[in-house]
């Protein structure tokens, strides 16, 4: 008799629909690490191998790695969350990190333990394969796909099928550089113009018959230099999704710049060639692909919709007192599904970090409340638990409250994104991760999450120019750097304004370099200016949008006006006046920049 037999798993624990793992890869990884340590594997080949298997380098050391676990389409199941909790305690720092690309990352893992994590992941059908390196990265899908009222149809099965087709596919094991697919429900929720291939469900009517298909966007992406993607054609029929993907990957594989690491994402190729030429090339290549497949290759799209089963309540009513803070949380963390009576709940994490115990609690809450029995990783270092019946929300809230997961503001400006920064990344110049947490705490303290006119704005922070924190598409974006007074350095952020990733996607316009310790006062000042100058229906983002586009007629008409008003905040005090100014968040010692070799993080 074993403990597990008695403590039976709850009956409605749903098991994962796809097994992404291959256990042999763990063995192979362990062996290769040994060879590498014995000097039988050169540094470069080992790095390529390591990245292919999802183990990314760590700041200033060869002894540790970050393991990036792919969660295709963001679909994550309770057993998987529990396993990740266990692995984080055994091999990492007892916390896990939700990334902006629906991965879950375990940091500060001893390189020799990575294979043990891979083994654990295989037990629950997960993999870190091709989560880093010059491969097709995690295939994303909007956390609202399937429940968003704006969508034409649910893109999730197509995202999963695409991930299945490309994972371990020899065609894309050694691309010139990494490659990213995003699927979405609608323009607003999925960043389809900010990745290599963005896919949006679309329908058209032909002779009275509804036909499924897609709008496909190519050549976008955030990085040291960011570009907005182009729409390939008016309508891409369903069966052409795969052929288009193959065609684009082939072109990139053939023509991408393999020499110049800094400029070899596909968006540079598109930019250099010009969109029309690239578009023609894709259409021609697709015709070739379609005509020359020896066997008819099709996406394996699972036609069976997810089973929706409202969990059975043991005590359906009783004790209906609504806990404190519920109204605020309800307003700022829930999304009204297109299905009557159901809500999606977004859990606000601090810059994506979550403890092992909280992961276990989330698994429980999913089993207890979600009618689809799983959760979705979001695009904002968060997690969405969907299909919660309206009546269950107060109870779910109190359960979240007990485990410190009921922070309000997840769907508002009060939940900034911060990349990992100097907490673990080789390239980071500043502690962007901690800054995001500090901003969140300040916003919640001032109850700014409750303000309707701030709700659709965003704050996103990167610790260096490389955009892992997606600063380019933020209403107020920041990327880290260092500035100097004489021989003393202090951490700063270049602030950009007016970025967005919806139907009118544009990159933010650079404004000013703001000292790290003045970022919060600067944001609050911008909000104050907005409140003074806004028009009736304005939101902060619509107001800033007009300013950066030169169509605002109030006191602040341009980025330059912002510069003038905000520049006093950027004047450095002397070290005697304010020594704290010369330190970064989370670090008492004098600030200095220090970076290692990049491996392309997210």
């Amino acid at each position: 008799m074993s403990a597990s037999k008695l403590n039976q798993a709850r009956p409605d624990s749903k098991s994962p629909s796809v097994n992404w793992a291959k256990i042999e890869e763990a063995d192979n990884f362990a062996k290769t690490v040994k060879l590498y340590r014995q000097g039988k594997y050169d540094e470069d080949s080992f790095r390529r191998f390591r990245l292919q298997h999802g183990a990314y380098g760590t700041r200033m050391t060869n002894d540790y790695a970050m393991v990036r676990i792919k969660i295709p389409a963001g679909k994550i199941y309770p057993t998987q969350l529990e396993k990740i909790a266990q692995l984080s305690e055994a091999f990492s720092i007892g916390s896990a990190h939700f990334s902006t690309r629906e991965n879950i990352q375990l940091h500060w893992v001893v390189l020799e333990d990575v294979s043990e994590i891979m083994r654990g992941l295989a037990e629950v059908g997960l993999t870190s394969r091709e989560a880093c390196g010059n491969t097709v990265r995690n295939v994303m899908c909007s956390p609202l796909s399937g429940v968003c009222a704006e969508e034409k149809f649910d893109a999730t099965p197509y995202a999963i099928a695409t991930a299945k087709f490309l994972l371990r596919n020899p065609m894309n094991q050694n691309l010139p550089r990494k490659f990213k697919f995003n699927f979405s429900c609608c323009e607003k929720h999925g960043m389809v113009r900010m990745c290599d291939v963005g896919v949006l469900p679309e329908t058209r009517e032909i002779e009275g018959k509804q036909e499924k298909g897609f709008k496909i966007f190519l050549g976008g992406g955030l990085g040291n230099k960011s570009f907005v993607g182009y729409q390939l054609e008016e309508f891409t029929p369903e069966e052409d999704l795969l052929y288009t993907s193959i065609a684009v990957l082939r072109i990139f594989d053939r023509m991408g710049d393999r020499k110049n690491m800094a400029r070899n994402r596909m968006r540079y190729l598109v930019n250099e060639m010009g969109w029309e030429k690239f578009q023609n090339l894709v259409l021609k290549e697709r015709a070739v692909v379609r005509a020359t497949q020896s066997v008819i290759v099709k996406l394996d799209v699972d036609p069976i919709p997810e089973e929706i089963k409202k969990p059975i309540r043991i005590s359906e009513s009783g004790g209906n007192s609504v806990p404190d803070g519920y109204a605020r949380w309800y307003k700022t963390n829930t999304f009204n599904q297109k299905q009557d009576g159901y809500q999606s709940v977004f859990i606000a994490l601090e810059a994506g970090d979550i403890t092992a115990n909280q992961l276990r609690e989330i698994a429980k809450i999913i089993r207890d409340y979600s009618a689809e029995g799983m959760a979705r990783n979001g695009f904002s270092q968060d997690i969405a638990i969907r299909w919660i019946h309206e009546d269950d929300l107060p109870k779910m809230y109190s359960q979240l409250l007990q485990v410190g997961l009921a922070k309000s503001g997840s769907l508002t400006m009060a939940s900034p994104i911060g990349c990992s920064g100097t907490t673990s990344c080789n390239l980071a110049l500043t502690n962007s991760h901690r800054l995001a947490k500090e901003i969140q705490r300040k916003f919640l303290e001032l109850k700014l999450d409750e303000e309707d006119d701030l709700r659709d704005s965003t704050i996103k922070i990167s610790g260096c120019p490389n955009s892992c924190g997606q600063h380019g598409i933020a209403t107020i974006g920041f990327f880290g750097g260092g500035s100097r007074v004489g021989k003393d350095m202090y951490p700063t952020y270049l602030m950009s304004l007016g970025g967005r990733s919806d139907g009118e996607t544009m990159l933010g316009i650079n404004c000013l370099r703001i000292p790290a310790k003045k970022v919060i006062p600067t944001i609050l000042k911008i909000i104050e200016l907005f409140k003074q100058n806004k028009k009736d229906a304005d939101t902060l983002s619509s107001w800033i949008h007009r300013i950066v586009n030169g169509s605002e007629d109030s006191d602040i008409k341009s980025i330059n006006d912002f510069k003038q008003i905000l520049s006093p905040l950027t004047v450095p005090p002397t070290k005697d006046e304010d020594s704290d100014f010369y330190t970064d968040y989370g670090n008492d010692s004098s600030y200095h920049t220090k970076t290692g070799k990049g491996e392309c993080a997210a």
Binding site: L6, I93, G94, L349, T355, T423, S424, H433, N587
Partner: protein, 270 residues
Amino acid sequence: MCCLSKEKTVRPTIDADSLSSQIRDNSVRVIDVRKEEEYKKNHIPNAVSLPLANLLSDDSPERAVKLFQSLGIDDETPVIVYDDTFGALASRVAWTLEYLGHSDVSLLDVTYNQWNSLGLENDNKIPSINSKTHSIVLQPQILATADYLEEAKEKEGVILLDNRERLNFLEQHIPGAINIPYRTLASPDKILRPKDEMKRLVENRGITPNSEIITYCGSVGTLSGLAFYALKSINLSNVKLYVKSFKEWKNLKKSTSKQENADYWDLSAE
């Protein structure tokens, strides 16, 4: 090989079923190291109480042996120790017995909580105990002092093992140590992983059968005591416990190392 040996083999851990039958035969002394009030509420039938704090208040061999004698333990008594703290507290008590020269001591391979969830018997009766006599034959080969450690860690083949959590290790550790956090040692339903897993894990970290291993943790040798038994479970016998651990090391102002230039604490979600 094992059958020819006359000596009784002592396993580092014993499973719950075997313990149940040994309790029925009344052939073992079971020690509960939880707090006394918890023990009084209920415990494994016939178990005696020795809260770890009681032992640690003065764990000199002279006093420790008196404690064990008062629990009815002589040189030959088979002893089994359990706790409700993933085996770490029990390990520290078991190790002390071994250090005194008592060879027949094992850990229960589940925690008391798991014992109960298996539906096994418990009891609140406090057994009457007759004191016994136990000799002291100290086993210095399982103890590391600060001086010993300082010299040994420079030697080839000596591995210094830190069993604290990763963030604590990154922040500060004894120079040259490697880190296997205590959480790594357990499986979801046992205080120690199955042997094949443990072996693979330890081998991956460069620990070989020829290694001399010194384990340490934060202050009193509990987490590292568990590691002592984890290594023993896979037949690594040349293991010493630096029982006074990092607390003493720091008080002695000996040198420490740190993972520099990274703000790793800000990644944790406490």
